[in-house]
Amino acid sequence: MTGKQPNSGQEPLYDTISRILRHNITSGRLPDGLVLIEGPIAKVMQTSRAPVQASLRMLNAEGLIHRFRGRGYLVGPALPGLRPIRKSLDEFDFEIPSSSRSALAVRGTWQRVYDKVEAEIAACQIFGEFRVIETELANHLGVSRTVARDVLSRLNERGLIRKGATSHWLAGPLTARTLREKFELRSIMEPAALRLAADWMDHAQIARVCDQIESGMTKDAAELEDALMKYCLSRAPNSALVEIITNNRLLLSAMDKALSDLGLPVDTVALDQYGTLFRLIKSHQIHAATEYLREHLRILSYKSLARLKIVALIPESDSIPKYLSRV
């Protein structure tokens, strides 16, 4: 990606996305009644949400999809008695025609750039408060200031940076207070999402995770946390809730990653707890699983607070990128 507009002369991204969706709907790959929501589509297409929004509006205008009482759109015309189908796109034979792939691939670069910046900005916050300098970010990424601004507004949307009093972008610090607040949010939202997701979970995958735990193949608590999110919590039929949960976890995962890079040994207690949790879910004991998840989060919060203390002994990393300046 260069400073120049990368795909000048190409069609706008929302046209590409519309074309792909149209192809999948008209060919019958996506059944009538399937719920379409921006977030998951953006993920499959490796783009941001804005163009997906635009293309869903277009398809709505074309009558290929329609609005309903829930969030998102339903595939097909609005017929009485049509029941919403809440399933992930990858459960269908969703196809991205090769002609559209190259257009998306360029945008995929944007996604990779974004992911890198997101990881860097999340990781720096354990060291204190930083100002994100837009021009430096653009130089660092070799992109225009418009693109840099896009990246920043997405980070802002996800709660990783904020505007300071002087209109500068600020990140951090990740303090014990932030940590406590984030865990408090987790213990409110995640058990609620688990309960809501009860009828929508992917039990084949859950059984697979249970087998892996029992055979001792899983050695990493973060892996199980991701599985819980993917097969259980994110299935809750409330995409706004799922989105808040996802964003709330960003900083916490960044801290975990920073600590495991420093050599934090595997938390075997947490591994055992995930084992119990998945067994409860597998046997459909959702009420018990919800309570157990709450208790697990309480212990995790306590341990995370203690682990944050060791960060004090780590000198501010030299690898902090230049576009971040210490406040």
């Binding site: 303090t175 014990a176 050599g263 040994p265 341990k303 682990r307 004090a312 002994l313």
Partner: protein, 374 residues
Amino acid sequence: MAIADLGFDIQHESLDFLTCQHRAAMDPMNYDIYEQCFHNLDIVWYWGALQPIETRRIKQWDNIGDLAKTGGISKYTWTGHGDAPVRKLYVQPDGTLGQQPMPTISMLPTAHNVDSFGYDTRLFGAEGPEGSSWAWLLDRRARGRIALVDEPAIGIFDAALAAEANGDLTFQDIGNMTVDEIDSLMALLETLRQQGFFVGSWVSPDQAEALVHADRVSVQSMWSPSYANLGPMKDVFRESFPREGYRAWHGGASLARHLTGSKLDMAYDYLNWWLTGPAGAVMARQGHYMTNAEGLREYLSPEEWGYWYDGDIARCDLKGPDGRIVVRQGQRRPGGAYRERVSRIALWNTVMDEYNYAARSWNRFIAALGAATP
């Protein structure tokens, strides 16, 4: 001494606070026993570097004092803010540390003490019956002649106690400050620094003693053994008995996670040796207390016991661990007897929840101050 008593070789390595904590957490394969304070324990424990100690294998367990086991020397005394050892002592079923008694502990309580600060009687006069106040540590009269200990789990509390005592700041829980409270405290210290209040900071006790010898300080953070090393300044520079209470610490020893079999047995022998008496007697002669005090009584002379533990007037000159006279006949220990002193603990040395934030702010302050160069 331990080698002679135990019959096996022991390698001791003394490290500064931060290095010790860092090594203990990150490098647990390269030591067998970790000895530091209860307030340093959180970091090392939750890094998974230690294993629980079975109290049934500690011969003196029943004689260990209530200060460590229940939080105060009696159920009526206040435990103090911050990392009181009992709050980190017992290994709970979920692997966390807490005060609910359990059959295993995280760290065997050993030496401990209560600290205050040292002051120049030529400036502040005698303490009087009320005792002195932590407010003296940031007193305008001592401007330009104040030093603080540079350790973020200790020095920050000396400063906080002083700021609260003189009315500049209040803390909702001084043992677990909020980000805003830390900001206010560091802003106050920075203002005072700019006004030239501080002569510097010190890291090791001999630096603190050197500041006194050079007559460069009127008041500063100072620890118990240093008062025996002040030479001609001994009568001028005194240990405070603060009316707000002391800042306390409690040392201990823990077992590395990797120990098993005969090495684990030897480690238990070493832990048990700590509580046999001779070690506690050496500690007592530098002013520190041992958790099973009665167990070391026979290793001290009645005069030593009277002065160090009972708060009596010294009936003769008393020697320190290296044989030098550290207490003159006729002196009485500031603060008095063990029970009197440890029942007046305002707070413990603490690694607060916001330690990462506080330590970074503190280090910036110290860097601006520049280390004291006696």
